[in-house]
Subunit: 167 residues, 2 copies
Amino acid sequence: MAQQWLDDDQQRTWRSWLTVAELLPRTLDAQLQRDAGISHAAYVVLAMLSESPDRSRRMSDLARRANQSQSRLSHTIARLEERGWVRRERAAEDGRGNRAVLTDAGWDVVRAAAPGHAAAVRDALFASMTSEQTRVVGEALDAVLERLDPDRSLRVEYDGPEGQSSE
Amino acid sequence: MAQQWLDDDQQRTWRSWLTVAELLPRTLDAQLQRDAGISHAAYVVLAMLSESPDRSRRMSDLARRANQSQSRLSHTIARLEERGWVRRERAAEDGRGNRAVLTDAGWDVVRAAAPGHAAAVRDALFASMTSEQTRVVGEALDAVLERLDPDRSLRVEYDGPEGQSSE
DNA sequence: TGTGCTCACTTGACACTGCAAGCGAAGCTC
DNA sequence: GAGCTTCGCTTGCAGTGTCAAGTGAGCACA
């Protein structure tokens, strides 16, 4: 058992990964919870909807883009619906499907939350990294993704924390 | 709202981060759950104990090193205790404190789980990165940590997935 | 038209986590 | 040594996530 399963650099990187992966979401969740009263997962969903045509998307499409399982998204949307920020509509094109639609109230919530959240991301993550590091980390993560999920069944595809709108 | 809050590289890196941070834990959790019947958080606790003097640690120390809040660790240990893998002892040096002690059964579980988990980490993460990327990512994460948690109140400090023992 | 499959989602039970409150032991301070 | 405060930990509860089973609409084929 004295055998090394990871080399020294890998071990260091692994430990640091574990810690950041614990701390960073906690930090961002706390900020969003405090300032907007929502979780990060819910924010991503709202932000994604705010950037979609008609501010709406099919559930399954939204799930893939927001990196959530269908079941999880269903729960997330249910909670957002209770608060009046999203509503569900039967999909016109396929009676089995649902579309999640961002309400005006939901729109206001995203708009209000976006700048603070963007600032938090910059402050917590990118303020500490050089542009070179940012680039290399991005490339490395993409390589990891390529192997972890070759057919891109999940992939975050919204334009970032700023919630850029189509306006 | 056309304003860019993150530059292009940052946005790409952020999206990739979000996806990997979702997928990687899910992958590792699934592997551990399938092969050893425990969560990753529980594994880290067991591994840490297995490397500690007398296979035991004070709760607060363990919490810090395993990257968990005290409350969370208390729950985790309670669950491990139910399964007979850990037991609690009043700390001799301070009557307020507890020590978590790894039982023989717990020891066997870690030993059995370690190689498979190490392989999963290598396969899921490091197999996709060059050694240069591994190094740079590690440095970048450390820089992030330095800012996120300057006084190192949390810090993963076990020797990696292989659960290197002192034998 | 009816039977049976698949698809898109939803639902319910259960596990894990954070937060806030609680509890007893230690450590003052007088 | 009585009364406070602090410390180390635990507990209960609410929120969020997963997994497996359920529901009802489409679709294929006789």
